[in-house]
Amino acid sequence: MRFCAYCEGVKLTESEETIIGTSVPRKEGRDKVTGAARYVDDIRLPGMLYGATVRSKIARGKIKRISFSPEIDWNEYVIATAKDVPGKNCIALILDDQPCLVDGVINHPEEPVVLIAHPDKHALAKAVEGVVIESDPLPAIYSMEGSEKQSEIIWGTDNIFKSFLIEKGDVDRVWAEADFIVEGEYFTGAQEHLYIENNGMIAVFDSVAGVTVWGSLQCPFYVHKALMALCGLPEEKIRVVQLETGGAFGGKEEYPSMIAGHASILAMKSGRPVKIVYDRLEDMVATTKRHPSRTRHRTALRKDGKILGGEIDFTIDGGAYATLSSVVLSRGTIHAGGPYLWPSVRIRSKAVATNTPPHGAFRGFGAPQSLFAMERHMDRIAKIVGLSPVEIRRRNFLQPGQTTTTEQVIREPINLSDLLDKSLAHASYKAKKENFARENKTSSIKKGMGIAAFLHGAGFTGSGERYLDSVVGMEGTADGSVRILVSSTEFGQGTNTVLCQIAAEALGIPYESVTIAQADTTIVPNSGPTVASRTAMIVGNLVRSAAIGLKQTLQLDGTLKKTFKPAEFGAACRKYVAEKGLLRSLARYNSPEGVYWDDVTYKGEAYAAYAWAVYVAEVSVDLTTYAAKVENFVALQEIGKVLHPVLAEGQIIGGIAQAIGLALYEKVLWQNGRMLNGQMTNYIMPASCDLPPIRVVFEEIGNPHGAYGAKGIGELPMDGPAPAILNAIVDALGVPFDSIPLLPEDILEAITRRVQSRQQITSPQESPC
């Protein structure tokens, strides 16, 4: 029995061979399987208080009065409100519009208003209930459509956080030449990250050393920046340390700054360590989710199925504050055209404000939303033009030398038709399509096949990496081992392991001789945030440079020969440190030559590299229960070089599992801006019985910009499954579905609607799928 293609690869013994491309043991794996790994809730400090957050409850309004129930002895509690914020009352990120604690105006139902702390954590829940916030409600907005109407202005002057326009060619001319014009509108819902470890932080304040926070987080320097502003303290008086982090998926990119801020305020006010750990309900309802989206396509085509051009309108719901919406929007906008050639295109996009908790970073970062629309739209186009879903894609795939919607020239020798053929072969696509067409006629279980072809840009968008200006450090130590210094964090995806592999490979020493420092802002340089599928590719390359620098230092110094054995490297380190002290090498990001990006026109090299993929879903729909089930899944992707096969496969399967959740299970129910189903019992993520066999296939072209040819892969698998699955359901049922999540109730409703409309129309009309 084999469920994974790459599982046999882990080598628990020391490897003499090349380290890149082999599956070495996960660096912190032993601690994780023995229970020794320490997460934030596992830490207790002497004299520590437990903090809790009193939230706004209404979606929009003005606070009149905050009162405290006389039934509680408030002398036992530390209490903080907006007036206790030592510095600027905001969560500094891109714009500083989000307050740390509400001061007057409430903009969503889960806004922090009052903080309390007590030595006994069981004394908190009742006290939270005992704080009464009286307010005058203001009219609130709960939908993108409501926000666009601007009946109420809830943010800025027009409810729009950010908008983009991409123009290529002359799209206004294509309509007259078109044989077909195909329109479609597509929706994606909010999605909760549902990392199994809830958010949490511990803060300590000392009047000399300043504020230190330990916690569950992705981006130590984001928290660092936010705390400097909030606490009004200089750089050196803020220290942020990442603890073992139990899953993140983007969900611990920006919100940890909020919790760190709250814990710090309470720590500064009380003079004692303060821990805030959310319970599941609070984490689900108050922290970020994937941005809901709406995409409209209008596409002009020749009768042979070639795209002449089109307009794409992409809108996302940002929630109440700007947070990261502008960058999520940016990535979604750039990916909106998919892996296809658009001779002419106009893409307009905007992120709008609503009175819900801000939506935020989530694996894929806007791309799963706009690619869902693109890939459903391709199937709709195929149907109208009269081609198969395979052929319509084949005729429009981007080829080397052609340009993307931002006019980035494809320079690598990618052959998408070849990837498509291979993935169809792995899925037995043709044979299954034929079988299903026959079997579906008599069965109450209808089966279908669906495809999604897509790309995912690795690293920050456009000039992002240049602005980040990442730095990586490496030290040779007194015991002869090497230590990597990065702010890049491990939260399951394998950062520690892959970066150590790269360093070991570059130095020619065993993997076991390399360690990675805890992400502590007083120890590690800022290698940027751990987001955007950038760590293996971009930080990895810097680790390699730092390693080469370290080696050169030893060689120039004469301590190490030109060619050496691993043991000689260790000896050289020991000697150098003993005689000269610190042995350290730093590497700083240099943007590749000839890379051009224009932030104003949104033209140029949007990403240094793209990963490419074709996914195939086989789906069944049981017409007794209307439940759709993914029966088989093929995930074929070109990701440059596979640095660690087991980890890479784990990223792909895990991403697909989350995307199956996005497509078929995970629905956030909203009422007046608040999530109603904030429990694991009623927000349904896939469990062990719900996932199909997933066949993962890697193609490796390489990537000159990534460490040992690597591209980013963390987000890629989030993009393709949902459209592939919906395309398969449409194939099975012949009814169009353009919205996710697609639950059995939705399938029943669509089938019922179709039966009713058939009964009304005497000559049944096929609606285009």
Partner: protein, 292 residues
């Protein structure tokens, strides 16, 4: 955790007699807790009203499965795992074994009890429609004695039952005269395991000459309590199994259920799917004649 443990009392009497005596001493103020798979969830959410609890999890007297000639008596403290593993249950009452296997994950099956499922009185309790279909009786016990009631009379309204303030559920009795019955149960939940049901149908039928002689239908999650579909049963009894019967059954059924829109599903979905489940069951029967 939103509850404060210092505010709660919990006692664990060593015998059933002691538990009942305590229960009788202040009727209605002590809440029995067995495996805790429902009550501890309420507790942690800060929503458990009762401040005084009696643990009955360790009471041996409630954990027997007694096989008599006419019936099987299952102690209320038997866990879902006990039910799944008992040879007579799996052989003669397969729907109960299956419902037990569909309840939560293994950890909850190791703790959750049949009596707890009944007392919790959720319309979505997985074992409840099955007990209705099996025509189970309950033995309720208090310090002053015991009484036996038909289970189908037990639930009187949403989360309301016939259990008196000083009573415990002692055991569940299921008659064994079931040879000749075809049986069916299907749970429709939001995922394949570890899910709360959106619709549940348990059904048993005896057929001769392609005609329904006796039929029992019980449904979960389609009203405030798990119910026997008595009207539908009457409409089907004595009938041959064909398309028009299915249509008739669907109509009668729709009138006797009271499904609602809630956080898990919609009334419309529940109505249609329950009808489909009945259709699936009827179509599987020998002698069934259906067009499609």
């Amino acid at each position: 955790m939103r509850a404060n443990p210092t505010e709660y009392e919990l006692v664990a009497p060593g015998t059933l007699q002691e538990a009942l005596a305590l229960h009788a001493s202040e009727p209605g103020s002590w809440l029995p807790i067995a495996g805790g798979t429902d009550l501890m969830v309420l507790y942690a959410a800060g929503r458990l009203q009762s401040r005084k609890l009696i643990s009955i999890a360790a009471l041996r007297e409630l954990r027997n499965i007694e096989v008599a000639s006419a019936e099987v008596r299952v102690g209320a403290g038997c866990t879902y795992t006990d039910l799944r593993q008992h040879p007579v249950i799996t052989k003669e009452f397969p729907l109960l074994a299956r419902a037990a296997a569909w309840t939560g994950g293994i950890a909850n099956q190791n703790r959750g009890t049949l009596g707890g499922n009944i007392a919790n009185a959720s319309p979505a309790g997985d074992s409840l429609p099955v007990l209705l279909a099996y025509d189970a009786d309950l033995i309720l016990v208090s310090a002053s004695g015991e009484r036996r009631i038909p289970y189908r009379t037990f639930h009187t309204g949403y989360k309301k039952t016939l259990l008196a303030p000083d009573e415990l559920i002692h055991s569940i009795c299921m008659p064994r005269n079931l040879s000749g019955y075809k049986c069916y149960a299907r749970k429709v939940g939001a995922r394949n395991a570890q899910a709360i049901s959106k619709v549940f149908l348990a059904a048993m039928v005896r057929i001769s000459n392609a005609t329904i002689k006796d039929i029992r239908l019980a449904a979960g999650s389609v009203g405030p309590v798990p119910i026997r579909l008595a009207g539908t049963e009457r409409a089907l009894a004595g009938q041959p199994i064909n398309d028009s019967l299915l249509e008739l059954a669907g109509k009668v059924m729709a009138e006797e259920i009271q499904p609602i829109d809630d956080i898990r599903s919609t009334a419309g979905y529940r109505t249609v799917v329950l009808r489909n489940l009945l259709g699936e069951f009827l179509q599987s029967l020998p002698g069934a004649r259906f067009a499609s």
